[in-house]
Assembly symmetry: C3
Homo-oligomer: 369 residues x 3
C-alpha cells in the first residue's frame, strides 16, 4: 500500500513543503524510519536526529525547518501522524454493540444507556453501571460495585465487591481492585487474616495499568485520587490514600496506610514502607526505597531515599571509594614513616649541641692563641 506525499498532506489538511508526487509506503518514528517512509519531528531534539534518518519525508509543527527534507506542517503533529499511520494500518472495530447475551448480568444490576458489555463479562448483584461504560471480555465486577459514566474496563480486569469507580476512568487488562489487604494477626503462631470489610474507591479520570493491584481498605476505602495515572504492575496496599494527579510508574510498590499529596511522581520500581506520607509535587527516583516521610516539592532517590543532591554526592564519593581506599593505605604508611622520623627528637638535640661545643671550642682556641 502506498500514497503520495500530496495525498497524505491533504488528508491531514497540512501545509506541504516539497514534491507532492513523492511516494510514501509507510510511517515510522525517527529511530526506525527507512527509505520511502514518513516520520515525525515535533521537537528541536527530534529535528536534530532527522539528518541521520532514512525517511523520505517528515511531519512537523508549523514553522519548523527541516532543510531539504520534504515536510508536511500541521498544528497537532501527534494526532495527524497517528491519522496517517492508520491509513497504512487500518483499525479493525469490534462488532459488539450493547450488552452481549454471552455476558452474565445479574438481574439486580443496573446498566446505563449506551453501555457495551462483551461476551464473558460478569456483572454481579446490585452493580450499577453508568452511561457509555465499556466492559471488555472476561471483566468481573462483583456485587455492589458501581462504575461511573464513560469508564472503560479492559479484558479480565477484576473488581471485588463494593468497588467504587468514578467517571472517565480507564482500567487495563488483568488489573485487580479490592483483593484482601496483606494484614494478619500472628499472635497464635498462625497468621489469621485481619478484618477485610473495606473497599477500593477510584476517583474520576484515573487510569490503572495492566496487572496493577489495589487492595481494599481494612474497614473503609483505599483511595486513588482524581486524575492519578497508575502504570502496569503497580501495587497499592490496603488503606492507602493516593492524592490527585499522581504518576506512579511501572512496578512501584506502596505498602499499607500510606498517603501521597497531589502531583507526586514515582519512577519505576520505587518502594514505599507502610504508614508513610509523601508530600505534594515530590518526585521519587527509579528504585528509590522510602523508609520515612518525605516532604513536599523535593526530589528523593536511593535506598534509603534521601535528597537528590545528597545522593549525587554520595554516589560520587562511592564511585571514588576503591581509589580512595588505596590512597588511604598509602597515607597510613606515610604517616607511620613521619612518626618514626619524629620519634627520636633527643638525638637531633645532641647533634646540634655537639656542633655548638665545636664552634665555641674554636673560639676558645683562638682566644687561647
Amino acid at each position: 500500500m502506498s500514497f503520495t506525499l500530496g495525498e497524505l498532506s491533504r488528508l491531514v489538511q497540512g501545509q506541504l513543503h516539497g514534491d507532492p508526487s513523492i511516494v510514501i509506503c509507510g510511517t515510522a518514528i525517527i529511530r526506525d524510519a527507512q527509505a520511502g517512509q514518513l516520520t515525525l519531528a515535533d521537537s528541536d531534539k527530534a529535528l536534530a536526529k532527522l539528518a541521520t534518518c532514512g525517511a523520505a519525508a517528515v511531519m512537523t509543527r508549523v514553522g519548523m525547518d527541516t532543510g531539504s527534507l520534504p515536510r508536511i506542517e500541521v498544528e497537532d503533529v501527534s494526532s495527524c501522524f497517528a491519522r496517517v499511520t492508520e491509513v497504512f494500518r487500518p483499525r479493525q472495530q469490534e462488532g459488539q454493540r450493547g450488552v452481549s447475551t454471552q455476558a452474565f448480568v445479574d438481574p439486580t444490576a443496573v446498566i446505563g444507556s449506551g453501555a457495551t458489555i462483551f461476551p464473558g463479562a460478569y456483572v454481579g448483584a446490585g452493580v450499577v453501571i453508568g452511561d457509555g461504560v465499556t466492559l471488555h471480555p472476561g471483566v468481573c465486577v462483583m456485587a455492589g460495585s458501581s462504575i461511573g459514566d464513560h469508564t472503560t474496563i479492559f479484558a479480565n480486569a477484576v473488581l471485588y465487591e463494593g468497588t467504587d469507580v468514578g467517571r472517565h476512568v480507564i482500567i487495563h487488562a488483568s488489573a485487580v481492585l479490592g483483593a484482601y489487604g496483606f494484614g494478619y494477626n500472628s499472635s497464635t503462631g498462625r497468621h489469621l487474616l485481619s478484618e477485610q470489610s473495606g473497599y477500593v474507591k477510584v476517583e474520576d479520570h484515573v487510569e490503572i495499568g495492566a496487572g496493577a493491584t489495589i487492595d481494599r481498605g481494612t474497614y473503609g476505602a483505599t483511595v486513588i485520587g482524581e486524575g492519578t495515572k497508575i502504570d502496569n504492575q503497580v501495587m497499592v496496599a490496603h488503606n492507602c490514600h493516593i492524592g490527585r494527579h499522581n504518576l506512579l510508574c511501572s512496578q512501584v510498590g506502596i505498602a499499607g496506610s500510606c498517603t501521597t499529596g497531589d502531583y507526586v511522581v514515582m519512577a519505576g520500581q520505587v518502594g514505599i514502607g507502610d504508614h508513610l506520607n509523601i508530600g505534594h509535587k515530590t518526585i521519587l527516583g527509579a528504585k528509590a526505597g522510602v523508609m520515612s516521610d518525605v516532604p513536599s516539592d523535593v526530589i528523593y532517590v536511593g535506598i534509603p531515599a534521601t535528597p537528590h543532591r545528597e545522593q549525587m554526592q554520595k554516589q560520587a564519593a562511592w564511585s571514588k571509594l576503591p581509589e580512595m581506599r588505596k590512597e588511604f593505605k598509602t597515607l597510613k604508611l606515610e604517616v607511620e614513616r613521619l612518626k618514626s622520623l619524629l620519634s627520636a627528637p633527643s638525638q637531633t638535640q645532641t647533634q646540634s649541641s655537639s656542633s655548638e661545643d665545636d664552634s665555641c671550642g674554636d673560639n676558645a682556641v683562638s682566644d687561647a692563641a
Copy 2:
C-alpha cells in the same frame, strides 16, 4: 443514613461510656475520621492519636480510657467495628448458588457438595473440587488439578494442569499457578525450553495474592508450605520449596530451586537468587538482594543482603562518605606539609649554628674590647 451511639452500642452488645443520643453518620479510621463519625482505637498508640482526631466517638477494648471522648467498649474491637461499618455500607451478596450453567465443567470432573462455581469458570478433565469450594468468574482449573475443601479462588485466577491445592486456601484474582519454569538449554544458540512435567503443590491455609505467579517444578512439585501467606505480585520460581507460615510481601521475587524454613518473613521487593536456602524465622528487609544462603533467626537487609547491624554501620559510614572524602583530601595535604617540614633537617641545623656563631662572635668582640 445515621444512628445514635446507643443504637450502635447495642448492635455490638458494647458497654457505652457517653451520651447514647449522639448521632453517628458513619465510621472511619483515626486518620480519616471527621465530625459525626465513629472511629476505633485498639492500641495505646492509637489512643494517643485520638486527641487530634475529629471523631464524635470511639470504639475501644474494655478498660481503655478515652478521656472525655464518648466510647463503646467491646472485647473484639476489629470485628465489632467492622459490623458497625457494615450498617452504614451494607454488603451486597452475590446471587450465585451451586454450579452455574454458564460455567464449563468437564464431565469427568468431580465436584464436592456445597461447591459454588460462578459463570465463566472453567473446570477441566479429571479435576477434583472439594466440599464448600468457591470458584469465581473466569477461574480456570486445568486438567488433573485438585482443590481441597473450603478453598476460595477469586476471579480469573489460573491453575495449570495437575495443580494440587489444599484446604481452606485463598487464591486471589489473576494469580497463576503452574506456568512453565524459566529454564532453557541454550547450547545451540537458541533457547530450548527445559522439561516442564512438574506441578505446583499448595498446602492447607495458604493465601496467595492477586497477580502472584508460582511456576511448576521441572519434574516434581514447587511447594508452598502450610499457613504461608503470599502477597500480590510475588514471584516464586520453579522447584522452590517455601516453608510453613512464611510471610512473603508484595513484589518479592524468588528464583528457581530455593528453599525457606518456617516463619520466614520477606518484606516488599526482596529478591532471592537461585538455589539458595533461607533459614527458619529469618527476616529479610525491603528490597534486600540475597546472593547466598541465609542462616536462621537473623535479620538481613541491603544489596547484597548482610546482617542488619552490619548494614546499619555501612549506611552510617556511607551517609558520612562525602564529608569523609573532603576531610581525607585535607588530611593528605596536611601530611604533605609535614613531610616537607621534615624533609630538610640539615637546613634547620645551618640556621641554628649560624646563630651560634653570632652569639659567640659577640663574646669574642667583647673579649677583644
Copy 3:
C-alpha cells in the same frame, strides 16, 4: 504405585547397572529424594551430591559413574526422567478438540486448521488464527490481531487490538500485550493520554511469562525479537525494541523506547531507564538499575549499573567502609599529634641557643679567669 528398576529401565530403553528387582515407588530431584525413589544426575556437580542422597537409584547419562548406587544410563536424562515421572503421576489430557461452542468467535475471524479454542475464549473482529493454535479458557484476542501457526496462549491472557504474534510462540496465563503506553501530556496540569495508535509485534519462537505486560507503541510497534524468552511479571514499555534471543528474567522492568541487542540477559528485578540502548550479549545482574546506554559484551551490575569488576571493587571497599572510617579517625588524631610535635621549631631554637650562651659563657668566664 510401584515398579521395579528393571521395568523402568526398559520403559526408557536404558542401560541398567544394578539389581533390576529393586522396587521404585516414585521419582524426585536429588534435594528431595527419599528411600525407594529414583533420582537423576546429569552433571558432575549432581554426581557429587548423590552420596548424601537417600535415593534407591539414579538415572544418568551413559558412562557416568555412580559407584555402588544402581543406575539407569540413558542418552537424554531429562526427557527419560520426565517419562518415568509421568508413570507415577499420569498426565490428564483436556477434553477440548477444535473450537468450543462456548467460546466467542467473531464471524469475521479466520481460524486455521487444527486450532483449539477453549470455552470462554474471545476472538474479535477480523482476527486471523493460524494452524494448530491453542487458545485456552478466557483468552481475549481483540480485533485485528493475528496469531501465527502452532502458537499456544494460556488462560486469561489478553491481546489488545492489532497485536501481531508469530509462529511457535508461547504466551502464559494473564499476560497482557498491547495495553496503552504510560505517556501523558501534562502541560495543562492534567495528565492527558498521549497517542496510542500503535501495537505489539511478537516474533517467532518467543515465550512470554505469566502476568508479563508489553505495552503498544505510540504509533508503530513495540517489538519482541525472535527467540527471546520473557519470564513472569516482566514489564516492557511502549516503543521498546527487544532484540533476538534475549533472556529477561522475572520482574524486570524496561521503560519506554529502549532497544536491546541479541542474546542480552537481564537477571531478576533489573530496571532500565527510558530511551536507553543495551548492546549485544550484554549481561545485567539482578536488581541492576541502568541509567545510561550499556555497550555490547559486558557484565553490568549495581545501581547505577557499572561494569561488574568495578562494582566488585566498590562492594569490597563498601564492606570495609565502617572499619576504614574508624581507622581514618585514628589517623587524623595521629597527624594532629605530629603537627603539634613540629609546630614549635622556634622554641626548640631558643632552648638550643640558650644552651650555647651557657657554654660560651663558660668559655668567657674561663677566659676572664
